[in-house]
Amino acid sequence: MPNPTHRAERVSAPEGSVVFEADVLVIGGGPAGTWAAVSAAERGARVVLADKGFCGTSGATAAAGTGVWYIDPNPALREAAMADREKMGGYLQDRRWMARVLDSTYQHSNSLADWGYPYPVDDRGKSQRNSLQGPEYMRLMRKRTKLAGVTILDHSPALELLVDDDGAVAGASGVRRQKQDRWTVRAKAVVIATGGCAFLSKTLGSNVLTGDGYLMSAEVGAEFTSMEFSNPYAISPAFGSVTKTLFYGWASFTYDDGSVVPGAASKGGRSAIARALLEGPVYARLDKADDDVRHQMRVSQPNFFLPFDRTGIDPFKDRFPVTLRLEGTVRGTGGLRIVDDSCATTVPGLYAAGDAATRELICGGFTGGGSHNAAWAMSSGAWAGQGAADYATQVGPAVGRSLRSAGAVALRSRQRRAFAPAALARAVQAEVFPYELNYFREASRLQGALGRLDAAWRDVSEADAADASEIVRAREAAAMLATARWMYRSALARQESRGMHRRDDFPDQDSRQRHYVTTGGLDEIWTSARPHAEASYAEAAE
């Protein structure tokens, strides 16, 4: 157990604010953030974790639960698990990282068992560890985070990072929205674990995920990668929020008149559903599930049935209307670019984990069907926490460092009137939700959307600071806007179809484009190509 005296210290602060001194600040308290916090504390670091919502219920995992890429350490099974998804991911995965994540996920899942997670036991008495119930898992992670001596700030969205004179990241500040005051954490290293960006689409548990960590990181010069792989859409009842897709593997999909939508399927046929939805309503019925499967479904994912039970629909017998909700980078693979095994970003002192970081290393350009994201969240979380703690030790005593706030949009006084966050969020949604723009991409449509998004950015970057009651919403909307621009700029740069990225004008995969697209910038967005690891290894060997 870590030394309980190793706690972040609350120092005196002006009226209306609280200030902490810590070694490591973790922003975001989902699986990635809690694993980061626990792992940093185990290394002896003094840690603060700040979450926008409540650490334990907030984020995609807490609400949804996840399958986990847990594979017994048997070489044949591991090899098959790695090979299985390479084609779907467009051959952009990196075997070395896949192997690391499989090892680490195996260890961390076993720790969860030791900590009391109630894994089910199968008929042969074997504990089954490839699924985690969200509320149960995240309640346990909150408990472990507290036990490790971490100071948790709930309902405390971070707004901007702090940097020192050399440009190294040295903390962050934000608001405590239930206390109407501000927080600042001066730290030697920061882990961004703010999840992905789902553009307020109401996909399950994800309205707290607006890309805030991306915006803050971009303001200190961080880079992103694989942002074109950011257009997964998940199936849910048309009226509801439960975008859990596994059970739609047992569904038939039909038009209004009852005839079957050709080619429609949850796996491998979701684009047929999107095309049909462009024409009119689409219905589903889980009529391929037998009685045994129905029972297993009920006990495994009780929340899947809430929308049905509460509206009197029998999903196995009745047809119900479905929709596709955008999940952006939550079940996409784009995010902050990490540059080494400790999940460091390109900016000193800044680490990234979970959906805030790219998942290209283990998923390439596709993650639908889950499991890899959860494995990545726990693995990258632990690595980032350890990396940040070690970096903090190297920095040494940080007395007398002068720190500067790095945030800009919506935070600084400017010429023009402050912008309206809700209207901006809707304007971004209008560019990223439509299937004809984002599901099915094409150069002139992407350019049209980018023109409008870039114009919106020029407006908001000249707008005045938002007032206290609007500040969180304003930063969220600005983060969504920035994310949409990295996403579409990268989508234009990849002139082929690969992974989840589909170009109507380039329908085939092009073997010469087996590379990663890096992007960054705020006023001017740039992209560039980076070789895939195998190509760079080959070069190094020459």
Binding site: K52, G53, F54, G56, T57, S58, G59, A62, A63, G67, P118, Y119, P120, V121, D122, Q128, N130, S131, Q133, P135, E136, D154, H155, R177, Q178, K202, L204, G205, S206, N207, V208, P237, F239, G240, S241, V242, L246, F247, G249, W250, V293, H295, Q296, M297, V299, S300, Q301, P302, N303, F305, L306, P307, D309, R310, T311, S371
Partner: protein
């Protein structure tokens, strides 16, 4: 979206105010209020944490739905999610019944 807090059952423990990830509720001197219904993300988590089964989240994510609380209390909807995941004393054996491992890979 969150639709009601049942004033008869609620003990003003304020747990829901703490746990709601999108900060929908406000504390008062008594029973919390649904202060920002439009921010509700229909995640059902407040229901899981309410020890009194005093909350009801309607499954309609995009529109508010007026609820007849008296009629609702005659159904078993309130607290149904909490019972299903095994977070009540009577149902705690359900915490370990996840059968997802039989369903993956379909």
């Amino acid at each position: 979206m969150i639709e009601v807090i049942d004033g008869e059952r609620c003990t003003s423990c304020d747990i829901c105010v703490n746990v709601c990830p999108t900060n929908v509720f406000d504390k008062t001197d008594g029973i919390p209020v649904i202060a920002r219904q439009g921010d509700c993300q229909t995640c059902f988590l407040c229901e899981l944490y309410c020890p009194e089964d005093a909350l009801y989240v309607s499954p309609f994510a995009d529109q508010a739905q007026p609820i007849d609380l008296v009629a609702l209390k005659q159904t078993d909807s309130m607290g149904s999610y909490r019972r299903a995941v095994g977070w009540t004393d009577e149902t705690c054996d359900r915490r370990g019944v996840d059968r997802s491992y039989l369903l993956f890979g379909h």
